[in-house]
């Protein structure tokens, strides 16, 4: 009996993963928040809350640093779960059953194709936003063409990440009740896991171990 | 300047030669540009380098340093050949018509020499005009007589062909002809061309003759006395005009009166020697007034002494002895000078062969330096100067002085405007203004003489010193420059009635009344005047130097009520040469003066001399009243003749006389005297064909940049200026750099025969210098500033550690512009 075992529940994520997830989410959200404050002069409430633009500049930079390391850690944790498999095609063809009735959705692994896509979006545009952020930290060190593209691509990455962020927020909470707690305490119901992570559950239990 | 700064706007052609006006007189370009914008004037620059002035010029021509006379001679020849001569002007206003002594011989006949050479001095007996029974010069109005000045001039310059000239100067013949064509186009009476020159012209062993060449050219073209014409010396610093006006040179007193010498034991003899005579009633012969000016000066200095006694107080020169800048150092090196005041000067950087000069300073017992900062001169004994202080016994006193903004007084600019300046801020610390320091010195010196007697106390004890309120101790403690200005203008010391010779009107003056103008100065001791050319600058009501009225009723830019110009507030001197015999201006669109038949008066500028149109000859300072194409007063010939610089790699192809024959050769003299080895080394020179000539193949010129002033003694302490030009550099051509494997930024060593250790400077490889093709031989020229020394926020190699100890044969101004060096790379 593992202490991780609860009645009718499956232990899905480790504490490490949960911490990294929230660091990633928090830093991303904070960077977005401060970034919006820097981008939109009309959002005066943001600098007002955070002590002005100068403070915000450094908050944005530091949240970026946290985001970078969290993204690195998250990628290491989830790398094995986010590789696309042939079944993902079927999932995508039916939009995961979110938009119309889906039949014979193949059982997903740890993450379904949508979640994988979200990861890759965050990963690719995260790398982009970090790289351009580094350039923007001191644009004078780079050729002016590079610097100018950095500012533009940083903004482009924001559009993508921010939009995906909203989808993730919705699907992780209202859209899929029972999901968000996985990132709180690590447990999901067995039913939830069968429905969302059938293949992963089967593999996990097929291995015989009850340990995660 | 015969004209003034604003007047440049009236020029049709501006020739800048021997000057880098854009850099060293930036404000002049306001008026050069005005002339270009309003009159479509053309700007010509002739310079060894492509300077910041060249950069904005319409026509640029290069010439090898020191070949100005060849260039100008070629231009004179061009003007004569193309008949670009203002014939009426030459006939009426110059000595071109005068017949010269038939015994006179010139370089044409004597292979580069004039008749009468004895050693290095000319006996000028044959350099004279033929005179008629009335004592007037004989004239040939057709100017065809082979002995008339014009024909002699024509014969002299006929040798200056384009080929010969360009062979010597290295100028592209196309550029040369473009310059000649453009400048001589001003021979038309309604056109005028101006010459702007500076030390590139004067600092040669024939510097005065360089200026003379301009004078000859301008007289032939009829460009003197007219608006937008003249020969305009751009003075090297803001008040150097004032310093010469007020006699800060050994050979002149104030107002260019000659310094008395030992052969003139009394005033009668002095006046006899220095008062030229003219039998021509039309010649004003202004120097005929010398006795009045000298008497007034003596009265200014010794108010209570009679004139002869006062004259006896005045120091006299040993007759024929030269006390100019160069001999000071050679005499000091010989240990003959014991003490020295260095007042706002920095000879440790600025003097030629300045390494020798610094060594000579160590022979002084004492030195008093008056300056804003500790200069290289007052620090000549420090380790910074590369010497061991324990070996130097000179006692140095440094008196901190006030800068120009920290004191009141007048400043005379190149255009002869004396402008009053007020004190803006207090001087820092114990710094005091010059007048205050001088006043203290006078008081203390008088006290010492009173106490100790001394050899000849009277001149000091009786010296009139009344420039401020007298304290209870009988001394002045707070002298005022305004009081000095009054004395410079002059006032009546006794009541005097003066009858006007023309109108018969009697004017009554009381003691203390200001003299209204120098025509009223007296030779009987009833007036005092510190500097006669400044008489009229202060009247009973006001100090005219303080005037700041910008009105210009004629629209010609005279600004008669803005400050005051000597003489008599005249803005263009010799302005009677701008009108014909009827008083009508040659140039109708830019008259200087014109005669109003209605008012029976001259209008416009203050006219030169009295009388109506045609009454007087225009050149009032010349005894015969006409402009001198033939100047017998020069030591080295009445016509400018090309010679090579003392240090030259080029054989003079104009004649067999390689260098100026009237040159005072220090290098030889010192060797003959077997002096101190440092003097022999410091005076050495690499003459053409001498054994060291191959070791020093490159011509070097020194010059200034706009960012620094002179020796840098003021600017190298100003961070905003030192950031602009922080280091000494040598400008050299890409061709020379390639030959020597030098890149911009390499540290170079530059050596001359006077300084084998050399100085270091960064290489500045530039397209703006090019090698010269001199009669088929490639000659390289480099250049460097003389702004650097070992004191200040930035320091660097001192170019004058290399310059030759030789001067112009007339003025002794040192040759800073053409000497030989070698360069080598120290490190990349």
């Amino acid at each position: 009996m593992s202490s991780n075992m609860r009645e009718g529940m499956v232990y899905v994520t480790t504490a490490d993963e949960r911490i990294v997830h929230w660091l990633l989410a928090g830093s991303c959200l904070f960077a977005l928040f401060t970034g919006l404050g820097l981008m939109f002069h009309s959002f005066t409430f943001i600098p007002a809350m955070l002590g002005g633009h100068y403070a915000m500049k450094w908050m944005h930079i530091f949240s970026g640093v946290v985001f970078s390391f969290s993204l690195l850690a998250a990628s290491i944790f989830w790398w094995k779960h986010v590789k696309f498999v042939p079944d993902d095609v079927k999932w995508v063809q039916q939009a995961g059953g979110y938009l119309w009735e889906a039949h014979n959705l193949p059982p997903a692994g740890m993450y379904n194709a949508g979640q994988k896509m979200f990861f890759w979006a965050v990963f690719i545009f995260g790398i982009l936003i970090i790289a351009t952020g580094i350039v923007m930290f001191d644009p004078t060190l780079f050729p002016v063409v590079v610097s100018r593209f950095a500012y533009m691509l940083h903004a482009l990455a924001v559009v993508v990440i921010a939009s995906f962020f909203v989808i993730h927020l919705y699907l992780g909470t209202f859209g899929n009740p029972g999901t968000v707690q996985i990132m709180f305490h690590g447990y999901a119901t067995r039913e939830y896991c069968e429905a969302h992570k059938g293949k992963w559950l089967a593999e996990k239990e097929g291995k015989g171990g009850e340990e995660a | 300047m015969t004209n003034h700064w604003n007047d440049i706007q009236h020029a049709d052609v501006v020739l800048i030669m021997g000057s880098n006006a854009a850099e060293n007189h930036p404000i002049s370009f306001k008026w050069v540009n005005e002339a270009r914008a309003k009159r479509g004037a053309k700007l010509i620059t002739v310079d060894p380098r492509f300077t910041r002035t060249s950069a904005v010029s319409d026509i640029t021509a290069r010439l090898r340093s020191g070949t100005d006379i060849a260039f100008m001679g070629g231009m004179i020849n061009y003007a004569i050949e193309k008949n670009r001569i203002n014939w009426d002007y030459v006939r009426d206003y110059t000595d071109g018509t005068y017949l010269v002594n038939p015994d006179f011989r010139g370089p044409v006949d004597l292979d580069g020499l004039y008749s009468g050479l004895d050693g290095s001095k000319y006996d000028k007996a044959t350099w004279s005009y033929q005179v008629d029974e009335a004592g007037l010069p004989k004239r040939d109005l057709t100017m065809q007589d082979p002995n008339c000045v014009f024909q002699l001039l024509k014969k002299h310059y006929a040798r200056y062909t384009v080929k010969k000239v360009c062979g010597l100067t290295g100028t592209d013949p196309k550029d040369f002809e473009a310059v000649c064509d453009t400048f001589t186009s001003t021979y038309l009476p309604e056109k005028s061309g101006t010459v702007m020159y500076a030390m590139g012209t004067t600092q040669h062993t024939y510097g005065s003759q360089n200026v003379r060449a301009f004078a000859v050219m301008q007289l032939l073209l009829g460009n003197i006395g007219v608006a937008g014409g003249g020969i305009n010396a751009l003075r090297g610093e803001s008040n150097v005009q004032g310093s010469t006006d007020h006699g800060a040179l050994f050979h002149i007193l104030t107002g260019y009166l000659k310094t008395p010498n030992a052969k003139q034991p009394n005033l009668v003899k002095y006046n006899e020697d220095n008062t030229p005579k003219s039998n021509d009633p039309q010649s004003l012969n202004w120097w005929g007034n010398t006795p009045k000016y000298m008497a007034s000066l003596l009265k200014a200095w010794w108010r209570d002494a009679d004139l002869e006694t006062a004259y006896s107080y005045m120091p006299k020169l040993d007759a024929g002895k030269n006390y100019s800048y160069l001999p000071i150092w050679s005499e000091m090196a010989k240990g003959k000078i014991k003490g020295m005041f260095v007042w706002g000067m920095n000879p440790a950087v600025g003097a030629p062969s300045s390494r020798m000069v610094r060594r000579a300073l160590a022979k002084l017992d004492w030195m008093v330096a008056v300056d804003l900062w500790e200069t290289e001169t007052s620090a000549f004994w420090q380790t910074d100067a590369g010497v061991d202080p324990s070996t130097i016994n000179t006692e140095v006193f440094l008196l901190p002085a006030a800068a120009s903004m920290e004191k009141e007084g007048s400043v005379s600019n190149s255009g002869r405007w004396a402008q009053w300046r007020y004190k803006a801020v207090n001087a820092p610390g114990h710094a005091e203004d010059d007048l205050w320091i001088m006043n203290q010195l006078v008081n203390l010196t008088k006290d010492l003489y009173k106490k100790e007697g001394g050899a000849f106390p009277d001149p000091i004890l009786n010296l009139t010193w009344n420039y401020g309120p007298v304290g209870l101790d009988g001394k002045v403690h707070n002298p005022s420059p305004r009081e000095v200005a009054k004395e410079i203008n002059g006032y009546f010391v006794t009541d005097k009635e003066i009858e006007d010779k023309v109108t018969g009107e009697v004017k009554k003056f009381k003691a203390g009344d200001m003299v209204p103008g120098f025509p009223l100065l007296q030779d009987d001791g009833s007036t005092c005047c510190g500097c006669w050319v400044y008489c009229n600058s202060v009247d009973d009501k006001e100090n005219k130097m303080m005037k700041r009225d910008t009105s210009d009723p004629t629209g010609l830019g005279f600004y008669h009520n803005w400050s005051w110009a000597w003489p008599m507030n005249r803005r263009v001197v010799y302005n009677r040469a701008s009108v014909d015999a009827e008083g009508k201006p040659f140039a109708k669109d830019k008259p200087v003066i014109w005669w109003s038949g209605l008012k029976k008066a001259w209008l416009g500028d203050v006219p030169d001399g009295g009388g109506g149109p045609g009454a007087k000859h225009p050149f009032i300072m010349v005894p015969h009243g006409r402009g001198m194409l033939f100047a017998a007063g020069m030591t080295d010939g009445p016509f400018p003749e090309h010679y090579e610089p003392l240090e030259s790699q080029v054989k003079n192809t104009m004649s067999a006389s390689q260098v100026n024959p009237a040159l005072a050769r220090w290098d030889k003299k010192v060797k003959e005297e077997v002096c101190d080895p440092m003097l022999v080394e410091g005076c050495a020179a690499v003459t053409y064909g001498s054994e060291f000539a191959k070791d020093f193949p490159i011509i070097c010129s020194t010059y200034r940049v706009v960012e620094h002033w002179q020796t840098g003694q003021m600017t190298r302490w100003i961070p905003w200026l030192t950031e602009l030009v922080p280091d000494q550099f040598v400008e050299l051509s890409e061709e020379l750099a390639k030959e020597k494997g030098i890149m911009s930024g390499d540290l170079l060593r530059i050596t001359s025969v006077r300084n084998l250790e050399g100085i270091t400077a960064y290489a500045y490889v530039t397209k703006r210098l090019k090698p010269f093709n001199i009669n088929g031989k490639t000659i390289h020229q480099v250049g460097m500033t003389w702004h650097f020394g070992y004191k200040g926020l930035v320091t660097g190699g001192n170019a004058n550690d290399l310059t030759p100890f030789i001067g112009d044969s007339n003025t002794m101004i040192p040759e800073y512009k053409a000497f030989l060096v070698n360069i080598e790379r120290v490190r990349r």
């Binding site: 919705y170 | 850099e23 306001k30």
Partner: protein
């Protein structure tokens, strides 16, 4: 308040650098420690900097007629009509285009992010790492709003620098350019500046330092500010709206209670 233009007639510049010193003088900018090795020419300080807002650039070039030209160009902020620097600036008030035409920087609001530096089409703004601020020419805003000309213009002895009402100066620029056959720079009808140059005739712009032959608002800034910036909000809003719709229409994705079916 009237709009002003500074007009620079490059062919009249004698490189005296009176403007460069006057700029430091009026704006109380400290001197820099320089060396000949900075530019290996007279150009010093070698570049514009936080403490050097005006710089005379020296270029030795061969003109079209093969003659040597020594071009000395007064380089400072061109005060764009729609300044890219201000558009890129995240901190309101740090860079402001004023009615007089000046693009004024206010160190009080500057956060030292350096966004303006790469945004500038003319490579003008400079920053100080120690101060964490940018700085550049302000067209002497404090002078021009008090009836004076900028310090550089006042100091210029040759008439190279001129300053006056916009329309007058534009007319003057065209007159000068016509007379001298020189080009007006910047020459871009869709991108105006409140500083204009009349370049010397026969000199190629590309031969000169720090000259942008085709100046304009950088395209990347247009994409960034006019497209991606609004799309950040539009994207988030659209996605959020879509999610809400999805919730209302489809409801949450509930997992079937399998226990009912028994295991």
């Amino acid at each position: 308040m009237a709009e002003f233009v500074k007009l620079i007639d490059v062919s009249k510049c004698t490189g005296c650098r009176g403007c460069q010193v006057a700029c430091k003088n009026w704006n109380e900018l400290p001197a820099e420690k320089t060396s000949f090795l900075g530019s290996r020419s007279l150009q010093n300080p070698p570049e514009l900097s936080y403490n050097t807002w005006t710089l005379i650039r020296f270029d030795e070039v061969n003109s079209e007629d093969g003659k040597l030209k020594w071009v000395m160009r007064h380089d400072a902020c061109l005060h764009c009509e729609t300044p890219a620097c201000a558009k890129a600036c995240p901190s309101p008030g740090a860079l402001v285009k004023t009615a007089e035409g000046a693009v004024v920087h206010d160190p009080k609001y500057c956060i030292g992010c350096k966004a303006c530096i790469s945004a500038c089409p003319f490579n003008i703004p400079r920053n100080s790492a120690a101060e964490e601020k940018m700085a550049k020419c302000s067209l002497c805003y404090d002078r021009i709003t008090n009836g004076k000309k900028p310090a550089c213009v006042t100091a210029c002895p040759t008439g190279c620098l001129d300053f006056g009402y916009k329309d007058d100066m534009i007319a003057k620029a065209h007159k000068k350019a016509e007379a001298s056959k020189g080009a007006i720079y910047p020459d871009n009808h869709s991108y105006g500046t409140n500083v204009l140059y009349v370049m010397p005739a026969g000199v190629k712009l590309t031969d000169l330092q720090n000259v942008n032959p085709k100046p304009g608002m950088p395209t990347t800034i247009l994409w960034w500010k006019n497209l991606f910036k609004p799309f950040t909000l539009i994207g988030m809003g659209a996605v959020a709206g879509f999610a809400a719709l999805h919730y209302f229409i489809k409801g949450p994705h509930l997992v079937e209670k399998k226990k009912e079916g028994g295991e």
